[in-house]
């Protein structure tokens, strides 16, 4: 039988010759090509960019808290209260919290994808991971914005007098 005629300009119709998925099935089903998105691309890119930003944010944070002024000995409740009275440090800590949490969550997601063998295990580990991340991010954000150093009426801090 002669081969079907070639249609120039109809590239989208050229399908990859795939053998039966018999052997692919040995390792858990054929590839699911539906829902093609750029999610993995953006998540890969995010890891690189957030990693760079975190180097600056975390080292800056450590430097300001542990080296400047009185150094580690001056680090107490009043120091944190003073820092969070300044919008710069609110934004700094917020960025650090969000980037570190997303960076870490995405990293753990990758590790779960690598090591969890059963779909069930993978699903539950990811569910746990996402729940934990959301709790930490929401709670942390709430604290940064609603932090009130004078909540305790008997506070002796200078800002509360």
């Amino acid at each position: 039988m002669p081969s079907p005629p070639h249609h120039p300009g109809r590239m989208s119709e050229i399908a990859a010759p795939r053998s039966s998925s018999r052997s692919r099935n040995l390792k858990g089903g054929g590839r699911n090509r539906s829902g093609q998105t750029n999610f993995e691309l953006y998540s890969w890119l995010f890891m690189r960019l957030s990693g760079l930003a975190l180097v600056v944010l975390v080292l800056g944070h450590l430097f300001v808290n542990l080296m400047l002024g009185g150094g580690i000995t001056a680090l107490d409740f009043a120091f944190v209260a003073g820092k969070w009275a300044n919008p710069l440090w609110q934004v700094w800590d917020l960025l650090m919290l969000w980037l570190a949490m997303l960076h870490g969550t995405n990293g753990l997601r990758t590790i779960i994808n690598d090591y969890a063998e059963k779909d069930q295990t993978r699903f539950w580990l990811k569910a746990l991971l996402i729940t934990a991340s959301i709790v930490v991010v929401v709670l942390g954000t709430l604290v940064i914005f609603t932090f009130d150093p004078c909540l305790d009426p008997s506070s002796t801090l200078s800002v509360c007098k």
């Binding site: 120039p8 590239m11 050229i14 990859a16 053998s19 692919r24 590839r31 993995e40 998540s43």
Partner: protein, 234 residues
């Protein structure tokens, strides 16, 4: 000289796990591991099963894990392996073992097929050859060297734990056409490798580059595909 070759044997017709068996063969230091396997098969134990075809490092049939590293048995000299010690030979990892050193290569070839490793063009076929400059040819020269031996893919820890990952070889196969100025299927191939199990799964451990018996810079090729995906430009 006498060399001790320890081979991981597996016979699917006998119930049980694969087990190590040691053979003592007299070899020249300039012999290859393939010669050792031949001697064992021809003189000691005819049931030893392995693939080999050209026996000169071109057909890519005899990739195996020798002393814990993926190599071609026909390109590995005994003298380079410290023959004072036992030489261990195992099948490549991550693919189902059929018998002894023979694995089912079908999942590996499946991944290769799915990146469309053939020239894709549109329009009328030219009456002459498709001309290409030396500079354009050089862009994918490295990835044309692949012999599909699977040494890279089966050295990849991501492939070991996730058989759905395309693996380094399929990406090398795609790279060869993505960066070919005569090819017009780039968009399709990039889209295929943008998959959840595509290039983003690569953890840049460089096992593939180290394993390649052809010296292809596999990890570099994977990174070039990532870059092409991010900037949508080859």
């Amino acid at each position: 000289m006498d060399a001790h070759v320890k081979i991981l044997r597996y016979n699917p017709e006998v119930v049980g796990e694969a087990e190590w068996k040691t053979y003592t063969v007299s070899l020249e230091p300039t012999d290859r591991v393939l010669d050792a396997l031949h001697k064992i098969k021809w003189e000691q134990d005819g049931t030893l099963t392995f693939r080999r075809s050209c026996a000169h490092g071109v057909c890519g049939s005899d990739a195996m894990r020798i002393n814990g590293r993926n190599r071609l048995a026909c390109k590995t000299l005994i003298k380079d392996l410290n023959p004072e010690k036992e030489i261990t030979v195992e099948p490549i990892k991550g693919l189902p073992v059929l018998k002894d050193l023979v694995v089912d290569m079908e999942p590996f070839f499946d991944a290769y097929r799915s990146v469309m490793p053939f020239l894709v063009t549109t329009g009328h076929e030219p009456t002459r050859e498709r001309i290409q400059s030396q500079a354009d040819r050089d862009r994918f020269d490295d990835t044309t060297k692949c012999i599909l031996c699977a040494a890279c893919t089966t050295s990849c820890p991501v492939f070991w734990s996730d058989g759905q990952y395309f693996g380094p070889q399929a990406i090398v196969g795609a790279h060869r056409f993505i960066f070919d100025s005569r090819d017009e299927g780039t968009e399709q191939r990039l889209e295929i490798l943008n998959d959840k199990e595509g290039v983003w799964r690569c953890r840049t451990t460089f096992n593939c580059t180290e394993a390649c018996p052809r010296g292809i810079e596999v990890t570099k090729a994977i990174q070039e595909v990532k870059r092409a995906l991010i900037f949508r430009r080859v």
